[in-house]
Subunit: 316 residues, 2 copies
């Protein structure tokens, strides 16, 4: 564990399920801030009816210990979640230290990296067969998907244990069969950026109209369904969709420009538009708004799920 934003989220998730969690940071001040912030976040979640499990805030926090000793943090752990900043060498170094301290080969070793494939973080480790990526969506308490990504040498049992743990704490894990750049989520985002960037860099449309096309259009589907299921029901089943539209989709894909880096004058124009929407000095407020939206959507989905179950319509 580490006490940054992702580390705090994982600590809250695991502790909410009754697991004893040790949170490490080299800075005692940072640890104090982390503990105070977790208490505050858990209270806000409980007030919104979005707490995980059935423990109170106090009971949950009783499972959290903060330590500035990496050795104390690691010793006796069954699962280690590393959440240091997105820097390959930093992460490799931290894992080297942890690996040297580990006495057991039964520990699951998981990195929260959003974009570094696990083989590049673990090839040097004695226990690399226990290593994988467990990358959460953002914010993890409100957006439950976690990507589990094995390196070529990862033992399937380590992936299975991570999956079980994530399910126990109420996350929704997906499991990659082997590693690939960007995993699943960042590949989807990169694909959207690919076409969105072409549309604005070649001036087909104003940047904020791309935004609108998403949040007033298909984006509403994606809060409830993925790309395939949305079309499965739009058409008369997936094969019907394919027979009618696979060629159309492919024709559209043929018109994609090669991916361009998002930089230069178009990036500056886009930044100006986005800053009119939310100036940089108000990003914190906008993040809080985003989290209110995420929390409200989560509650809405829970309500809809409950209604479906009560109506005994097994289709959903």
């Amino acid at each position: 564990m580490r006490s940054g934003l992702v580390g705090r989220s994982y600590a809250m998730l695991f502790a909410s399920a009754g697991y004893d969690v040790r949170v490490y940071d080299a800075s005692k001040e940072q640890l104090q801030r982390a503990v105070a912030d977790m208490e505050q976040q858990l209270s806000a979640l409980a007030a919104d009816g979005l707490q995980r499990g059935c423990l109170t805030v106090q009971q949950t926090m009783a499972h959290v210990t903060a330590t500035d000793s990496l050795e104390d943090c690691v010793t006796g752990a069954r699962y280690i979640q590393e959440c240091v900043p997105e820097d390959k060498d930093l992460k490799r170094g931290v894992w080297q230290k942890i690996d040297d301290m580990m006495e057991s080969s039964d520990v699951v070793m998981a990195s929260s990296t959003s974009g570094i494939v696990p083989s590049l973080l673990s090839d040097h480790l004695r226990h690399r067969h226990r290593f994988l990526v467990a990358h959460p969506a953002n914010p993890p308490m409100l957006n439950p998907m976690v990507e589990l990504v094995p390196a070529p040498w990862t033992d399937p049992s380590a992936v299975a244990e991570a999956r079980t743990l994530m399910e126990q704490v109420g996350q929704v894990p997906i499991v990659l069969k082997r590693e690939i750049e960007g995993f699943v989520q960042a590949r989807i985002q990169a694909a959207i950026f690919h076409v969105a960037w072409q549309l604005i860099a070649e001036d087909y449309v104003d940047p904020l109209d791309v935004e609108t096309a998403m949040h007033e259009g298909v984006g509403a589907w994606y809060a409830f369904m993925g790309p395939f299921s949305a079309e499965h029901i739009n058409a008369n089943g997936w094969l019907d969709l394919c027979s009618k539209y696979a060629q159309v989709v492919h024709r559209v894909q043929q018109t994609f420009s090669p991916p361009q880096p998002m930089q230069g004058p178009a990036a500056t124009r886009l930044a100006r538009e986005l800053e009119r929407w939310t100036p940089r000095d108000r990003l914190a407020e906008r993040c809080a708004w985003r989290d209110r939206c995420m929390a409200a959507l989560l509650r809405l989905r829970q309500t809809l799920d409950r209604e479906e179950q009560e109506a005994e319509q097994p289709v959903s």
Copy 2:
């Protein structure tokens, strides 16, 4: 107008704003079904608090006339929305007939096509300078985005008039500056299919895990924000995002396979998985579920917007 699903939606939208709407279909039976269905849909929307404008169902329907004469439908119209099936020759033929009947050059001529660029539908028309695409999201009453796409010869005033009309009836139009295959929404979808297909065809991940990555992950953002704004607030502004991650995104994009048509064994496997989720004989139920989700999300967003306004936080 035509009396299919999209035609009905446009008729309801325009009539709800107090416009007189003439709905054409060659089949009298189809027209009867359309009118009955519109009444039913408008009542359901009103019961959900999702009606547009301030007219009652009866008042709205009083603005709708059904006719099996294309000439009656077209004569005197200020705006014509064609919603015949997605077939280029069929649409060209219908527009040829309408064009021959039109006496004024002031009419806006709009096609609902989801995937045919406007130049291919209008090059043969006398009034082609008044022609554009007005493609709605699905379902149009609950998902308000409309793509307005001009042909190279479209008079900007026709686009401006269509935009004003869409805004008046409560839709959220986006305007393309020139035509491109797939417009905006289908390009975004095609981009997602591009990477999602690679992930399942090359067996990196089970198909339904791609779905989960969307609806339990980034999909929640896209119900409220587009791809750029989501990252503007995830990072410390867009330019910060670019400086830190533009290269990472580009590196991920370099690993995209060339787009493959969605067919063959992977399509069959995917269809099997999707049919386990929703069998083909229960697609109608699932569509109803999707529309309940869309309606609930729309109400949620209205509530969140109201709360933000009441809190006088101009940031949102």
